[in-house]
Amino acid sequence: MSLALVLEQLLNGVQFGLMLFLMSAGLTLVFGVMGLINLAHGSLYMIGAFLCAALAAATGNFWLGLMAGIAGAAAAGALIEILVIRRLYARDHLDQVLATFALILILSEGVRMIFGPFPLYLNVPDMLRGSVDLGITRYSLYRLALIGFGVAVALGLWLLIAKTRLGIQIRAGESDREMIAALGVNIRWLYTVVFALGAALAGMAGALVGAIQSVQVGMGEPVLILAFVVIVIGGIGSIKGAMVGALLVGVIDTMGRFLLPRIAGLFLDTSQAMGVGAALASMLIYLLMALVLIFRPQGLFPAHG
């Protein structure tokens, strides 16, 4: 097993983790500020990917598509918040789970009605095609760009929350919902903005990942479940926790799938080892989540003290 291979897998893990972070950031913000579990977050990821693929195909320009994906997901998020989500803040978690589960059905089927049952394929923009030499190994330029993009968005999000007025309101909302009312903030408006912001991040992740995978109905749900794992590990409501959790999940999942079959191969014959290794690898992050919940029930970086 060469260093180059380990490095490349590590990069794959980081890239995966950063895309998970984009998904998780919105989810954790919405829970932190509004106390809402949003299962339909994966649908916003899907909407971003579909809009990006459709517009990129129509105009031939990936970046226009990306803008459309982000803007469209944000708009869809704002609309959903105003029409449905707003009525759920005061409800218990069971109602939130069910209502947003219903939203998944509605949005998935709606997208299928509009775009049809076939996957769409989105091309990597020309300037990011091909691979680059990193010295030890070659690596896909686009995946490298995704890593850069993820880091940039994380920094931007940090600046937004640490330095801007909106950020102050968001932090206030996380620590004390009554306080933001006292600050004279229009809470309804703030909630809509936070929800749309989370939706925009999810849409961005969907569009970016769509270019290397396929854009299809149902693409959001596996990512959604992983994003939940991320925020539970990181501590619900904490952006920092989402970042650490996302990188942990991304790297552990990738390395687990890569290493566990090899480790199992030391004890078992090849075909058995592949089975056992794959079985363990796919359970690994859920095991991690269960362990975190058992030993640190509030997650690694609890948002509220």
Binding site: S2, N12, R112, Y121, Y139, Q216, V217
Partner: protein
């Protein structure tokens, strides 16, 4: 999800009453949504085209989408048998779905004609008089790829397939004829969309070539990521990963890939020329091998309905065994396990008039039959 397409033959069929009075209900369970939809749509369209070209017939076709989910396919099969009273089931693309549906279907004295999946278990010990495979046994085309890899001089091939019956069959089939070393062997998840980890392992393996079996959306995702990865090894494969449903989405990255197939759009026989032209006329795209298999399946059923009443299962079975139809792949004959004996061609992906498609460049086997038939008691 439920695409119901009931194609009842020209009004005439029932009233004029061809030789065989009773209507034949064919239930088609196939994949019409998600990453595998391209295959199912082609099987359906090929099948429908054959019915349309036949003009008068007494076949009632009911189509449902299985979304590539075994548990859904099982439910649909149950409904088609109990509620639609289907006489024949067909359409399943994926071997894992076939394994879930076929054994209980044929046990209920319903015919199953496979237009695509050919898992080894159903060709061998679990073969059944009511089960006919019109396409191939899974291993066949991969065996062709393995034989051709030797011819190409590959000595250190990295092989990869999804972890389901057709995937294991594919790797077994390739290895049965390939004589070089294996640089590595990987199973991926069915429906997987990100292949970064696999590409990393290919890069590190020191292979001189790659053999892949990734049908449908899996092949598209892999090829697009492979193109971006900077790994540039030659690929040899079976037709599935480079069939006409995939090529437009993969684009130039596929050019020059050799793949084994029992059929190709440029195959030179009258039936095929008519089929390709009619398919293009009807649907505005080139047919894939899945379309050719759907087409052949329908024509096989049509040939049998002309000879026997489907309610007389034994007579109808005999009629199917006679295989009195013109296959677009040329000569068609059954092995005793009711799987085809056929020629396996090697095709190359080329660009013709701006369309990326396949062209025959050689023959891997002439009268090829699958190895599992030996275990079939029939």
């Amino acid at each position: 999800m439920k695409l119901k397409m009931t194609a009842i033959a020209a009004l005439a069929a029932s009233s004029i009453g061809a030789a065989q009075a009773s209507e034949v209900t064919v239930g088609m369970i196939t994949t019409l949504s998600g990453g595998g939809a391209g295959l199912g749509v082609d099987v359906r369209d090929g099948f429908q085209l054959a019915l349309d070209m036949a003009g008068e017939h007494n076949i009632k076709l009911v189509v449902e989408d299985d979304a590539q989910r075994p548990e859904l396919a099982v439910q649909i099969a149950e409904r088609m048998i109990q509620s639609e009273r289907a006489d024949i089931l067909t359409g399943i693309i994926w071997s894992n779905l076939a394994m879930a549906v076929v054994p209980s279907t044929v046990a209920q004295d319903i015919f199953y004609l496979s237009p695509n999946a050919g898992p080894s278990a159903l060709a061998g010990a679990n073969c059944h008089p009511n089960y006919f495979n019109v396409a191939w046994q899974n291993d066949m085309l991969h065996e062709g790829a393995g034989a051709y890899a030797n011819e190409l001089g590959y000595e250190n091939t990295f092989i990869m397939a999804p972890n389901y019956p057709a995937g294991t069959d594919a790797l077994a089939g390739f290895k049965r004829y390939y004589e070089g070393n294996l640089a590595g062997e990987l199973f991926t998840q069915v429906g997987q969309t990100d292949y970064a980890a696999e590409i990393a392992q290919i890069r590190a393996s020191g292979a001189d070539s790659i053999f892949i079996f990734l049908p449908g959306g899996m092949g598209i995702s892999f090829m697009r990521q492979y193109e971006q990865s900077g790994v540039d090894l030659p690929i040899v494969s079976a037709a599935f990963t480079f069939s006409q449903d995939i090529l437009p989405a993969v684009g130039e990255a596929a050019l020059g890939v050799f793949n084994a197939s029992q059929w190709s759009p440029d195959l030179d026989n009258d039936a095929n020329a008519a089929f390709v032209a009619a398919f293009q006329g009807a649907y505005g795209r080139l047919p894939s091998l899945y379309a050719s298999q759907g087409f052949d399946t329908a024509n096989l059923i049509l040939s049998a309905t002309a000879k026997a009443d489907v309610q007389d299962r034994d007579a109808f079975r005999e009629a199917l065994r006679e295989a009195d139809f013109t296959s677009v792949r040329g000569d068609f004959a059954w092995a005793p396990n009711q799987h085809p004996i056929q020629r396996v061609y090697i095709r190359e992906v080329v660009e013709v008039d701006g369309v990326i498609t396949n062209r025959i460049v050689g023959v891997a086997f002439d009268e090829h039959r699958d190895v599992h038939g030996e275990n079939c008691p029939m």
